[in-house]
């Protein structure tokens, strides 16, 4: 498993476009929002979180768009199937590498921006924890979406996996609200961590079945 993890990290490190692109776009989105409409700082504090949440949703979709299509197109998926007979390990490795290299930085950017908009320094790490847990959930769900529509364009992936991502967003929203009102943070974050772990454990099984169907 470690070997798969290092192989995936090796591949992603060399593909700057897939790694850095989403992060830059996220920064752009978070900057563009306040510029587009001139809002008073007071209002901004109140609903800036929804901008961060929506951009997180959008960017995590963008980041996982070609997570499998590259290996599918150039035939490496077939080679893996010969050795491994199952894609569970490679899928888990891919998702974790993407979360580590793209998800966590995204959460970092999100919490920095939330800090710039009225969140005190003490609460910024809380935001970071919640955002990174939710990137884990979102990456799993959207990886499933991109596995479904592996070479048929990403629109199909979104239509299929967005309904599954929305409950996660509601959970994230609930978590963010606890930070704003300052209580109940621990319970919600533990709940989210639980959901994230279950999803991370189960989703690769479904994705591996999907990939096998594609290879048929």
């Amino acid at each position: 498993m470690i070997n798969f993890f290092s192989l995936e990290a090796f591949k992603l490190r060399h593909k700057l476009r897939a790694w850095l692109g989403p992060l830059l776009i996220m920064i752009l989105v978070l900057i563009a929002f306040p510029l587009s409409i001139d809002i008073s700082q007071y209002d901004l504090n109140k609903f800036y979180f929804s901008v961060i949440v929506v951009s997180l949703l959008m960017i995590s979709f963008l980041a996982t768009e070609s997570i499998f299509s590259e290996d599918y197109e150039d035939g490496s998926l077939e080679q893996i199937h010969l050795e491994e007979k199952d894609f569970y390990k490679i899928t888990l490795a891919k998702i974790l590498v993407h979360v580590l290299f793209i998800g966590i930085p995204m959460a970092l950017i999100g919490s920095i921006f939330s800090f710039a908009n009225g969140v005190s320094l003490a609460e910024a790490p809380k935001i970071f924890v919640i955002l990174s847990i939710s990137t884990l959930i979102l990456f799993n769900v959207f990886a499933f979406g991109s596995a479904l529509s592996i070479n048929k364009g990403s629109m199909l992936g979104v239509v299929a996996s967005l309904p599954l991502a929305l409950p996660a967003i509601v959970l994230l929203g609930r978590g963010v609200r606890t930070v704003q009102y300052g209580q109940g943070f621990f319970e919600v974050s533990v709940l989210m961590a639980g959901v994230a772990l279950i999803v991370t454990a189960l989703m690769p099984i479904i994705i591996s079945a999907t990939l096998k169907t594609h290879l048929e």
Partner: protein, 195 residues
């Protein structure tokens, strides 16, 4: 000793039948050359033997429990944004890597070792993909049109390598329009299958 046996294999896609009741068996150390026109299902048959695709009828059994297979299909399975050197690191772990490096020199790829694979010619990319076959220990080698795009020197190299492998009890299944000068039994897939 029998390595792979297939009994009345049949495959149809969207109710169109590609081939049906194919029965053959392959002993270790012997070769099987699958012939047939374009679209007669050669590649699909290979994929069924490899277990990638499940046949509509019949089945394939492997007589050896965990059979080591090395396969080269139409897709080269190499990463274009990496250099040949890095591609080898992806394919092989430490011990086999030395062996693969040796093959890279014999195939004359060491000149372009640090260039991006994307800028290599089709033939060079094919040679890089073939290293996966040369440098791996496997009981069964499956090749889909291996000779396409290779220059004569590499073709002879491949033929000689395959003969050596057949001698050392590894079996081979390949499809190729270019006649390989290896002695192997033949299986012809007729294009239109009558019911």
């Amino acid at each position: 000793m029998q390595l792979v046996t297939a009994d009345n294999l049949g495959y149809s896609i969207n109710e169109k039948r590609l081939f049906h009741n194919l029965t053959f068996s392959l002993n270790s150390g012997s070769g099987l050359h699958i012939k047939g026109g374009n679209g007669s299902g050669k590649s699909t048959l290979l994929r069924i033997i490899l277990g990638l695709t499940s046949p509509s009828k019949g089945g394939v059994e492997y007589c050896k429990p965990n059979l080591q297979v090395s396969y080269l299909g139409h897709k080269n399975a190499i990463k274009h944004y990496l250099t040949p050197m890095q591609n080898l690191e992806l394919m092989f772990r430490s011990s086999a890597l030395q062996n693969a490096m040796k093959w890279m020199n014999t195939l004359g790829l060491n000149k372009v070792q640090d260039e991006l694979t994307a800028n290599l010619s089709f033939g060079q990319q094919k040679k890089l993909a073939l290293i996966r076959i040369f440098a791996s220990q496997s009981d069964l080698i499956v090749l889909d049109e291996p000779f396409v795009g290779l220059d004569n020197a590499s073709r002879d190299l491949l033929n000689e390598f395959l003969q050596k492998k057949l001698a050392s009890d590894t079996s081979l299944i390949l499809t190729s329009h270019i006649e390989p000068n290896i002695l192997c039994s033949e299986l012809v897939l007729s294009g239109e299958t009558d019911d």
